[in-house]
Assembly symmetry: T
């Protein structure tokens, strides 16, 4: 099925500033760099990857709703929404494919309010701390999951 | 006053997916079914009911602001916003009519983060757990309240 | 079955004082008024309603035990027992029909010790805040539930 | 640099209702009154002040992103977002100028959920409780800060 | 009014065992001794005192209900009910006269679960730790209160 | 002394429903079965066993009071009272013989509110989780204790 | 022993303002009124009473140190120190006579930070809520205690 | 009234060391510098300002008591007393004019024990984080308040 | 199957010191005494019992691993490991037979850190407080369980 | 340097049972399968991988000590030690290369005691939830990290 | 520098009662004994030691302020101030030499409110539990520190 | 008795790495240096000192067991075990001589999980923060204790 070959990459608030915001934490790669790296990993496995970024929780929810039956998997970096946006968590629950949570830095090494994830319970797995490589590993995890489930 | 005869039904995030999302919790009725049932109950009592759904907290806030002096009451199912969207709670405080909170399932029987409601303190009452019928009962509660206050 | 047509209304401690105790919170309706309103709603739907009030948790537990196979549903306003009487919660678990929890005022708008309900997890739904009308809506919720389950 | 002479005033959800919502807490001044007072204070110091209000967290985030390198400072009254909108906190962290937090009333004298500020840690200072004058003092604090740093 | 001259002394669970239970905490005086002392203090002030003891919360609630308009004041030692029997707290709220809480020992010097009192918020005052004399002082406090209010 | 040969078995609220209530947790044995098994174990050791069940905390307290100097030991399954009925805990403290706490299921494997026991601190020991056999083991524990102390 | 006939009344911070500060909570009696009432009660029992007030914790500690072997008892209203001044608690521990804690209002009916007393654990008893009469009752409690211990 | 023209500036413990203690947090301005700046702001508005510093809570309480009917307003930097000195909070409650709380640094950005203020609830407003300018803004806030209330 | 007739008794850290360590809590019986008593109870029921003690969590884990398919049941007194050694809890989960937890004293009557058991949730039942007899009762509980399941 | 080409894979308690223990959570792959998959990924990148498993925290600590200057990176699945073995956390801090934490299942979707990781703060990143593939992704993350740092 | 040879010993509230207050906890040595022992240890190392005791936090703060540039080190037993007197903690932060905290008894073995120290974070080290010898060891620790830093 | 002259120094996990691990916290002295310093202090007082280090809690427990009646005192630096190894705490309780707890750095100045000590309640005293000198002071404390008890 055509759907099987598409991954949706969802990026949450402030990630559009990557490269210029707190580079000591988030590194110097821009969001475009991360998308390119993720896309390249997807293409290498025979998938295509569409990327979406928004600072709006409702736009993310709408996008996740739209992804139903269009995409085989969602890879999401919810940014600050990770920690309180239950509406996104509920939307991901309704998605009919695997969800993988990725983070550039390791939330557990930062402020305590970053230790809770409302997305983790609805994801098959989480990858955090590896910078741009978190996105590449996330794509590889999805590909492997889809090929074996 | 013409305003006395109109009820605004506000539905929060992900409720547009009703019927397809976790039917073991939320049942198989769609949002349209619920609106129809609520509307029918309103009409039976000589009221009209307008329905609004959004995945966006700000759109809900804006709609609640617009409802001032236009609607005699608001019935709201805040969905996941129930538990953290203080902006909606503040907006409802500013509404000049009764507010009734409704839920399809019983939040107190589910995950602990669903036990807190930031809407309850600004509502005259809450109805939870009766599926589609929560909406019908909510309309009846509003009608009775308006007729006796 | 004859049993299908009977509802038991259970009222907990201090509700016998309704009308004279803190009318700014509980209103001026007496318990008799509430029972009459609930009964009228039941009769209108072809049901009969028996009412029971006690200040004793054990009498409430015994009554709930006795209701097994005699009543099709229980509507309960547990009063102060809402918040700590686990023995009533256990008794309701053993009842073989739907349980609906009703409250005259909205416990979530009052002292924090009134925010916990040990009855909610064993009820199909909760109706709170509508004064006497909570009882009428509760009966209607039960009737609707029994007709559709 | 031209940029040095501009202040962005950001107002969060429900502040558009100022003057009509809970005047016993927020006073009778409208948002326009507050903006005018703040603007007058800015102009008196040789600055201009642009004001922005939204009920949407994402619009606030976008506005704060846009303010980078355009404004010398941000004065923000986050309203209900003060207490949970980490996405705004993250956006302010990325702003390249001083941030001052202002409140019309004193959150510490109100409900306990209003005691936490996710904005305070990224602001150079906070002014709360002085009604419209909080905005005037906030502008003066910014002006003084910019002149001495 | 005849009612003005009568005090009801209410004793909660296990107080019937006074004198034989943990005398190192509760002393060797029996409940009869305490009632006699309290009664003597009441009579000395021109009052009569009726005493009631029960191990049953509902009997205490019923007795408090019956006391309405019959007694001018209630002095209560709620025993273990002090710490969780909200039904008694609610009943006392409905009493139309002053309530004084007395304890033989000092709950704050004992196990931590004895530090909370659900009765204190509805009492005009509390006397704890003076053994039998707590009862005498309680009567004197009531007499003084009734004479000056 | 004749007293040495008698054990009082006290069963708390809802245990009269054993066999019909939640058999997946409590098993299919009735209370009569449990009493018979316990009695048989007692008789086998030369003791007699009297059983008492009540849904009323005050009846349990009264029974425990009456047991003083009549029974050599009390075996108690406090049911839901385990977790909040401090009046029973106080009554057991006043009993002049060993107390053993028994439970059919293991409270620590169930809801968190079942993890606290207000009886455990006044019991010489606790046996939980073995169904009907908990009662047999409890009797054997009492017999052994009385023979060696 | 001469010492047996003297009581020290210790009043903590802000009590010198009694009568003018928050009369809806503390009443209109001045500290002089309270001291006079307490002194009269002491004299009536053959005791003398010396009163001391200070806004300084160290002066209170010093006074309590000086009271050793000079006074037969201390009656203390620690005011705001009740809730955190462990140095006073330690000083009272070192006093060689009974300590009684008195309060004009009932701390348990007020803000939650007033619910903890660091003095209660070192006092034989506490009297709270009876206004000026708390002092009279406190003296009577001390007199009775000294006569019977 | 002459009183209307005087402001009392109260500085708490260790503020006498300003300029030499932790300059990276508190800056290099001395207390004299801050008083001069505040005084200049007061004089500019037609007020005089008296300053008082003490490391003693009781001296601060006494000074606040003395300020009653002498000063039109109090501006206080309670230093470490901010977080636990309830006696000062009570004294400020008894003051018959507006109270403004000022801080040189932002307590909410420092150790967690600095996040609680026992003064904030009795102040009309709080200004924190602007160094010496906090004092100037505080005076301006008072002046504006007195002119408009 | 031969396996059906063997029970493994596992004793955790410091239990090798039984008889010499805190005899007022643990009694004077040595570990050898307890093993002998347990073994005798096992033999009486046609079982054999092997005993193992270690102060090392890993040795206990290894022993539990080895017990798989060799023993029909495990009786474990985890000692101080009861409260934090999740590795033992995980190992017991993997065991293919019933687990019974025993304690010589009653952890719930001791320091609060002894109130949590990480073993209880994976055990069919718990016996605590009966000294050496806890072991005998534990064997009897296992025997009964194996004969009836 | 030869050291650059070696990865140490450390597996904590009970992981030797993989494949037979709770396969619904951990899957059916054995530890050997996981090691083989990880090793293959390492070899593919020009690295060798040594694997070590122990149920003993001290053996894991010793092995981590020994790895200093011998291995270029450590990949660790701490099993149940994740949540409390601070000694391992301290040992990893002393290791002179990157540490990656891997988990087969997602601890955040399981019991709450599994939500804390004492290893995460000392790891560069965490990969959880992907079964055997977590190990492959972990190796790839290490390889990428070593090549780019 | 002469300053290098002087140590200031600061003793907090109630320590002037040493020897007569709770000797089972604090021993029979008087404060003079402790000062003599500490002084002797200082002299033996070529230092002099001045001792200061006060029940007043502000006097302690003032003394610590005065010690700046006069004493090479401070040894402090803050007594009850250990647990809440943040003003002393702040004062010690401003001292320009090492601070050592000493306690006669071990606060961690006593009431839970004695487990927190607001002084420990600003001290180079803490010595607790050795009675008079804590003071001697504290002096030796200071001497060693000054000689090696 | 020969035993009187021997001290056992027990060092917990990771202390074998001293000098190379986090020297900014633990200093550059190696464990050998610390043992030498401690030993020298012991010898100077006529004692011998044996040192033992292990990363294994069970080896530490076993060593502590073996020390009974062989050593007159134990000085222990439990390292990371300080905070959770209740098995070591229990073992120390069974030791028949004084225990002194020493730490190189001050746990109360570091991460919050390092603030709890399960060893402190069973030690006569604690010395923390003085680096190598903590060990020397610990030996001196033991010597002094043994000479005076």
């Amino acid at each position: 099925m055509a759907r099987e070959l598409k991954i949706l990459l969802v990026n949450g608030p402030n990630l559009n500033l990557l490269g210029s915001r707190e580079p000591e934490i988030y590194g110097t790669a821009t969001l475009e760099d991360l998308i390119a790296a993720a896309s390249q990993a997807a293409v290498a496995a025979g998938f295509t990857l569409d990327a979406f970024q928004s600072n709006s929780a409702s736009e993310l929810v709408n996008k996740i709703h739209d992804a139903r039956s269009k995409y085989s998997a969602i890879m999401i970096n919810p940014g600050a929404f990770t920690h309180y946006a239950w509406s996104i968590s509920d939307a991901l629950t309704a998605f009919d494919g695997p969800v993988v949570e990725v983070h550039i830095s390791n939330p557990q090494s930062r402020e305590s309010w970053r230790h809770t994830s409302v997305v983790a319970p609805v994801a098959i797995g989480t990858i955090a701390g590896f910078g741009q490589q978190s996105y590449v590993l996330g794509v590889q995890a999805i590909v492997h999951y889809l090929e074996h489930n």
